[in-house]
Structure formats: structure tokens, C-alpha cells
Symmetry: C2
Subunit: 157 residues, 2 copies
DNA sequence: ATCCACCCTGTGATTTTATAACATTAGAAG
DNA sequence: CTTCTAATGTTATAAAATCACAGGGTGGAT
């Protein structure tokens, strides 16, 4: 999945179903708050801050204190249904849940759209340097900032 | 520069001199606050939060409100004398100032030591994916979390 | 030398992001 | 049904970052 258009309604419901199945299989509890948060992230298809999510949760009748959102986000990120974009202090739904991957993102600095690279992009971006240094990598964050195809075509702000 | 030992006093003063020269050359003002902040970062040789820096600044007799630290850090990062580690919301001195590079970091999750990879590690980690997507990359963040050589040898916490 | 414009610094206040601590409730296991 | 654990709700607070405005220094133009 990238920046191109697509059948959004469908991609949202598929992703929710996938997450549900995955949770059932692993004995994880896909509770209403967690489901709702994932749904918000899927619908937006861009990075949402924890407090934006919190507002949506309030509107949807859930608890409205920060931990409610952060806990759901922790769950989703820990189990690979969502990712945190460190650059934005914000969160996106995972584009390829299930496949265990170390994700890489492209972030548009104009419109904040976020795309997750589908290619297994790193598999040791830093591998050589790390081995040389004796450093044991556990996780790698890759985030590219730039201009997305949609914004490239528009006149400069 | 990596995790290994080195003549720290020397590396600090060299780096300060380099920065000073670079600023003179470019017509930039290497003011006392800016110099001091870079000095703190160089001395620590690890990531410092803005508020830690702020405390040090206060002790050194400078202003002690957040903007003082953030402005100096903005200057240093914009001109390549320091980098922000997004994962930690913290800052490190650049290990190869001058060389224009898109840095990659290894962050120890035990002791918070940070090393900047010397290899030109990415030069398009995401290049293919980006071209394919029509995304124009302007900057790429690469941060690996893991265990540094020093901590690997120690017993688990 | 004086004036001016601009950049840098200082400060107070506020916003945004995130976590701690504890009470309550809901689900699964026996 | 009881019990244990995990999840939720709420209050409070911590940590990170920015806004807005007031002074001060520096360098260039006249």
C-alpha cells in the first residue's frame, strides 16, 4: 500500500477482520477500545496523534483520559497492528499485519500522509556497521521525510 | 567513532574547533550558548534531553527557560553539528561534522549510549520504494535500537 | 559616530505528549 | 460461583516543545 487511491471501505474492513482473526488465533483480546482505535487509524490512512485518537474515542463514548488511548495504542503496536511514527509522535495502522517485518515509512511533510514501504527494505541497513561495532540490533526505525506524489504535483505552499 | 574508548578530552576540543572554523567560514554566529551546548553534547558522548541540557546551562549561568536550549539545539542540528534522536527525544553531537551525511544511529537500550554509523549507510535505503511510489525523499531517519558492546558483556539487568 | 535593521537571548505562559498510581469492572479458569 | 488476572476508567502529574513578547548586541548604511 502506498499513496495511491484504493477502495478504502474495503481495506478498512479487511484489515479489521485480519486483526480479529489474528487475535483469536493468538489468544489476544481484541476489545472494543482496541478495535475502535485500529478502525480510526485505518480510516484516516495517515498518522494520528494520541490526543486526536482520544478525541475520537470520547466522541464514540469511550473513556477520554490519555491512558485509554495510550494503552490501546501500546497493544496495537506491540502486536504489529499499528506502528508509531517517531518523527511525528503519532501512529498509523500497519499496512501488512501478520507479515513480521521491520517497517519503513515515507512521511509527507506537506500533508502528513504516511506510507509504509512494502519492500523488506532494510534487513540490515546498519547490519555491517553494527557487526563491526559489536552492536546487537533488536529493532530499526526507518522514516523518510519528503513530498508525496499528490503534493509534488501541487504548487508550492 | 563508535562505542570504543578514545581520547575524550581531545575529541571534544577538536570538535569544538572544527565547529568554530566551520561557522567562521559560513558566516554563522557560534555564540556562547551554542558553543556551550555543543560542548555538553560532546562531553557526554550520549544523547541528552533538552531539559538535561537546560539544567547544565543554568548551572553554567545561562538562561534557564526551555527556548534557550531549544534554540541552541535548533542551530546545532540545522547546521549539522548535532542530531536529534527521535526515538529518545534527545540530542547527540555529530560525529562527522562537515561531511554532509544522512546519519544513522545505534542506540543502546540498556545504557542509552549512542553511536553514529560512519558508513554512508543508506544513500537510499528507501530509494527504490520511494521512486516506485513517486515520493521525493528529503531526509531519512535511521535509528537502530539494541545492545551496545559494553552492555552485551554484562549480565542481564 | 549615529541610526537602523536584524538576529540572538531572556522570560513567562501555555500547549502537546506521555506516564504514574489507584479504584473498578469484565473475562477466563477452576 | 469464586477467584484470579487482564483491561478499563479516572485523577493527577511529569516530560517535551512552542508561543509571544521584551530587551540587547552586532554589523551595515549613511
Amino acid at each position: 500500500m502506498g499513496f495511491q487511491d484504493h477502495d478504502h471501505q474495503h481495506c478498512v474492513s479487511t484489515a479489521l477482520a485480519t486483526a480479529e482473526a489474528h487475535c483469536a488465533e493468538q489468544g489476544l483480546r481484541f476489545t472494543p477500545v482496541r478495535r475502535k482505535v485500529l478502525e480510526f487509524l485505518l480510516k484516516e490512512h495517515r498518522a494520528l496523534g494520541a490526543y486526536a485518537i482520544l478525541d475520537l474515542l470520547r466522541d464514540a463514548g469511550f473513556g477520554s483520559q490519555p491512558p485509554v488511548a495510550y494503552r490501546a495504542l501500546d497493544f496495537l503496536t506491540q502486536h504489529g497492528f499499528a506502528h508509531k511514527i517517531e518523527r511525528l509522535n503519532a501512529f498509523v495502522a500497519c499496512s501488512h499485519p501478520g507479515e513480521n517485518h521491520s517497517p519503513a515509512f515515507m512521511i509527507c511533510s506537506r500533508c502528513d500522509a504516511v506510507a509504509e514501504a512494502s519492500a523488506a527494505v532494510d534487513e540490515d541497513v546498519l547490519g555491517d556497521a553494527a557487526r563491526e561495532a559489536g552492536f546487537r540490533i533488536e529493532r530499526t526505525i526507518v522514516e523518510a521525510e519528503g513530498i508525496c506524489p499528490t503534493c509534488v504535483e501541487k504548487p508550492e505552499a
